[in-house]
């Protein structure tokens, strides 16, 4: 609890410090500037040991007295001050709301502070990396997405919530996971499932109870909140994370997003990755090993194309992954998680997953 409060105060201080710095520079008659880490390939560092991509030390200064930078400088300060107001007033707002709130016409001109949300969105990322905060800490939110169940008790805005006592539902994951206080975490690992249908099945089978894990359904592409939750559970409670998706390019991609640092640089800068996450299934080999051939789907051209792209990603350049993806391309087949139902409705929760967990049959 203390840590969360401390983090929030930190962000306020950081914003204030940024303002003070600029004012100092103005008073000295210097060119006020904001230093922002560079987010292009030239500043991405690949750590061979941890196999992680991260931002290097290179920064660029965004100056006020510079015709090419000036507007963005102004926009960055506007976003920063907006975030400060949110924090001061203890409210949250979406990034789109922020855009509308900050959009104004500048004096003596037809020029606007922001013309489109596509201008304000990247400024948020600039600020995130410049003062090393997450946008959720700036009180900028997005919709809830993702669902979680397990033997965990949290405090969320003053309310105590027990993830094991939500009936058929689960706790709907907000974007402000950073403000959540963990009271009790009783689990041995985290299982992340791509599809809500998968979550439902496993939740009904009380999988999280039987296996003593935290069960998370991402509902497709994992939201920032979901990813942050996964990261916190892994980071703060040292829980291993296993990801389960369809056996296709999209599924593999979702896995890599959670694990991060591989597909594109945005994930390098969002710092809500869980590098230690592992892929539990559904692999292409599983289709054969678990006799699911009757439930396969033929790959379309776009699937093959996407698979070929995945082969080139740094993260998937491991031998096991290359084998899997090549197998998919070669056989031209893919499968959904639901394919496991072909072997029985409880096959996934009672046989497939437990076997995999026992064998430690994961892809990195």
């Amino acid at each position: 609890m203390l840590m969360v409060v401390f983090m929030t105060r930190n962000v306020k201080d950081e914003l204030e410090r940024l303002g003070e710095k600029i004012i100092r520079e103005i008073d000295k008659g210097e060119n006020p500037n904001i230093e922002i880490p560079i987010r292009t390939l030239s500043n991405v560092v690949f750590d061979q040991k941890t196999k992680q991509l991260s931002l290097g030390d290179k920064t660029a200064k965004r100056y006020y007295f510079n015709v090419a930078h000036s507007k963005k400088f102004m926009q960055t300060l506007m976003v920063a001050s907006f975030a400060k107001s949110l924090i001061d007033e203890k409210i949250h707002t979406s990034i789109r709301d922020m855009y509308y709130n900050l959009k104004r016409t500048l004096p003596d001109s037809n020029e606007n502070t922001f013309d489109e949300q596509s201008e304000s969105d990247p400024i948020i990322v600039d600020l995130e990396v410049a003062i090393d905060v997450l946008r959720e800490q700036l009180h900028l939110t997005t919709d809830r997405k993702g669902i979680v169940a397990g033997n965990v008790r949290i405090e969320d805005r003053g309310d105590l919530i027990d993830w094991s006592k939500l009936g058929s539902g689960g706790w709907s994951i907000p974007s402000t996971v950073d403000e959540v206080d963990f009271k009790k975490v009783d689990a041995e690992f985290v299982l992340v499932v791509e599809k809500n249908a998968g979550f439902e099945r496993l939740h009904e089978d009380k999988f999280w109870q039987k296996q003593n894990c935290v069960l998370i359904g991402t509902g497709g592409q994992p939201s920032r909140g979901t990813r942050l939750l996964i990261q916190r559970l892994n980071d703060e409670y040292k829980l291993p994370v296993y990801v389960m998706t369809d056996s296709d390019s999209y599924g593999f991609y979702i896995y890599s997003v959670i694990k991060s640092g591989s597909i594109n640089l945005a994930h390098v800068s969002d710092r809500i990755a869980t590098p230690e996450a592992k892929f539990i299934g559904l692999t292409v080999s599983d289709i054969f090993d678990y006799d699911l051939k009757k439930a396969i789907i033929k790959c379309k051209e776009v699937d093959i194309k996407r698979a070929k792209e995945l082969l080139e990603y740094d993260w998937f350049k491991k031998p096991k992954w290359q084998k899997e993806i090549n197998l998919m391309i070669e056989k031209g087949i893919k499968a959904e998680i639901e394919a496991l139902s072909h072997r029985g409705l409880k096959f996934m929760s009672e046989e497939y997953l437990p076997q995999k967990l026992k064998k430690g049959d994961f892809l990195d």
Binding site: N66, V67, F82, L106, P122, D143, D270, I297
Partner: protein
């Protein structure tokens, strides 16, 4: 049908008088259409007035009035303060075609273009039946002489309808006034002609009243007449067979050698000997005794032998400073005016010279503080930047208003790469921009493409010189434009920094809990110092394209393969 015999044909042949011929071929005189015809009337009369004043050493004051007396019928009235014309001469000047002294001389003159004011008399009487009316006052006479005349087309002689001496003081000490009544159409081109004439003759004052009664004064910007061009003897390179033959027949020189040295420019003793040697003609021979073959041989030799260029002091250009002053007077709104003249050059034995003037940019007079109006001004400027420049051509100080595309001066403009001088130019067209470009060629003999004399012929020497002059002018323009751009950039820079200062100060006040006003004030003070800050020249920021701020659907949506899927994604996408 009976066949006619040669004799019968012979009986029908008769002499056609020159004026009868022109009666049926008005376009050859330049009277192509009603608009042009009206213009020709003004042109001939004004040219005459300018010539007369210049030759008499009088700074010209010309008054032009055009009245629309009936549908499509106009009275063109031109009055000058020249020396006037002697009584006897008037009828032939105005009523006989091809009468004049200019045709025989090799001297820079306006009159090359026109066939003379008599053509206007002819055209007037053909289209309206009205006579040309002339008033003339010479200094030595107390009274003004008035005459009304027609042109007799059969005899090519003037028919005087009325003449009298009048007491009324119309012309002051001396001068000529002519009124011509003709069929025509009035268009702006007449005023343009007078405007351009004023530009190329800065010492002339022209007062103009148009058919609506609107009076325009084109004042002089220079109080002195230009130095008079000298007459030149022909140069061997420019002589044609027929001319040479005529000269040989008319010369008073007794030998071919002395004929060559006397009657040609730049031919001295040695050159004359050389020519005769190459032509294999005895230099002591009598000129009139040369037969055709010898004359041809002589001609060829004259082209072959290396002869010094003709004297170049026979030209009388407008003058670089005078043209600049003249353009500035005429285009007072212009941002920038520059003129260039090149040294005289020679084409085919004829000296010529090119002068170029550039008038660039049009300043708005209003001072707008309101940002919106400023924006419109910028838009207007953008529009004008897209318009083709206005090209104004002159030959021997006479504006050329027609046949622009056939003219080699135009060709020279098109062949210059104006992009180097910061103008837009598509391919080899005229460049575009808010600019007027004057190109003037003066020569003892300006070569024209056709009898209408509106397009200069394409001699390589002329095009080369014109391009060099245009390039010189372009360079000057380019220097001005870079300076302007720099000044514009400085202005824009200040505008930008001031514009954002309010929001920056506001943001800082929220971040640091201080008052915004003093912060803004301090920022503006810094801007006003205009100093160059460290970090100001850092490059344009690289846009990090890999932004994934949208959390949902960072990749593509999984295509549906049946069953409910993540439709919720799409709903969530709207933030």
């Amino acid at each position: 049908m009976a066949r006619k015999t040669a004799e019968e044909f012979a009986k029908e042949q008769k002499e056609i008088s020159v004026s009868e011929f022109f009666e049926k071929n008005k376009h050859l005189l330049g009277f192509d259409n009603p608009t042009k015809s009206l213009l020709m009337a003004v042109k001939e009369a004004v040219d005459n007035s300018l010539d007369a004043c210049e030759e008499a050493g009088i700074v010209p004051d010309i008054i032009v009035k055009i009245k629309n007396v009936k549908e499509d019928v106009y009275v063109v009235s031109v009055q000058d303060n020249g020396p006037g014309i002697v009584k006897d001469q008037i009828p032939r000047v105005f009523g006989k075609l091809l009468y004049g002294s200019k045709f025989h001389r090799l001297k820079q003159s306006r009159g090359q273009q026109g066939i003379g004011i008599s053509s206007v008399t002819l055209y007037s009487q053909l289209t309206t039946g009205e006579p040309t009316r002339v008033w003339s006052k010479i200094e030595s006479q107390k009274k003004t002489y008035y005459v009304e005349l027609h042109l007799n087309t059969v005899k090519n002689e003037p028919d005087i309808l009325k003449q009298e001496d009048i007491d009324k003081d119309i012309l002051g000490d001396s001068g000529v006034k002519v009124d011509m009544t003709l069929h025509g159409r009035y268009r702006r081109i007449v005023e343009d002609y007078l405007k351009y004439t004023s530009v190329s003759n800065p010492f002339a004052k022209i007062t103009y009243t148009d058919p609506n009664g609107v009076k325009t004064i084109f004042p002089r910007s220079h109080n002195e007449l230009p130095k008079q061009p000298k007459q030149m003897k022909p140069h061997p390179y420019g002589v044609e067979f027929g001319t040479l033959q005529r000269m040989l027949n008319n010369t008073s020189s007794r030998t071919v050698h002395s004929f060559l040295t006397n009657e040609f420019s730049s031919v001295g003793n040695q050159s004359a000997k050389e020519i005769c040697k190459v032509a294999k003609v005895d230099e002591g021979k009598k000129p009139s005794e040369l037969d055709r073959a010898m004359i041809e041989g002589l001609m060829k030799a004259m082209q072959k032998v290396k002869i010094q260029r003709p004297p170049l002091d026979c030209l009388s250009p407008i003058g670089s400073a005078e043209l600049e002053k003249s353009l500035k007077k005429e285009y007072q709104n212009a941002e920038f005016v520059t003129t260039i003249n090149r040294d005289p050059e020679v084409y085919r034995g004829f000296p010529f010279m090119i002068e170029v003037g550039i008038v660039y940019g049009f300043q708005e007079e209003k001072k707008e503080e309101n940002g919106k109006k400023k924006k419109k001004q910028e838009e207007d400027e953008d529009d004008r930047n897209g318009e083709t420049i206005e090209l104004i051509r002159f030959a021997n100080r006479v504006p050329l208003l027609y046949q622009q595309s056939a003219c080699s001066l135009t060709q020279a403009v098109k062949e210059v790469d104006w992009k180097r001088y910061n103008l837009d130019q598509k391919g080899s067209n005229l460049p575009s921009g808010p600019m007027k470009l004057t190109v003037h060629i003066c020569s003892v003999w300006v070569p024209f493409v056709s009898e209408s004399k509106e397009a200069v012929a394409a001699y390589p020497e002329i095009i080369k010189e014109a391009k060099l002059a245009l390039q010189d002018a372009g360079r000057k323009l380019s220097i001005y434009l870079s300076g302007k751009r720099r000044a514009g950039e400085q202005k824009r820079r200040i505008q930008i920094f001031e514009r954002y200062s309010g929001e920056v100060a506001h943001a800082l006040s929220i971040l640091t809990k201080r008052d915004a006003k003093p912060i803004e004030k301090k920022i503006r003070e810094l801007v006003e110092t205009k100093k160059h800050f460290k970090g100001e020249d850092e490059q344009e920021e690289e846009d990090s394209k890999q932004e994934a701020v949208q959390e949902e659907d960072e990749g593509e949506d999984k295509p549906k393969t049946g069953g409910k899927k993540e439709d919720k994604n799409k709903e969530n996408k709207k933030k």
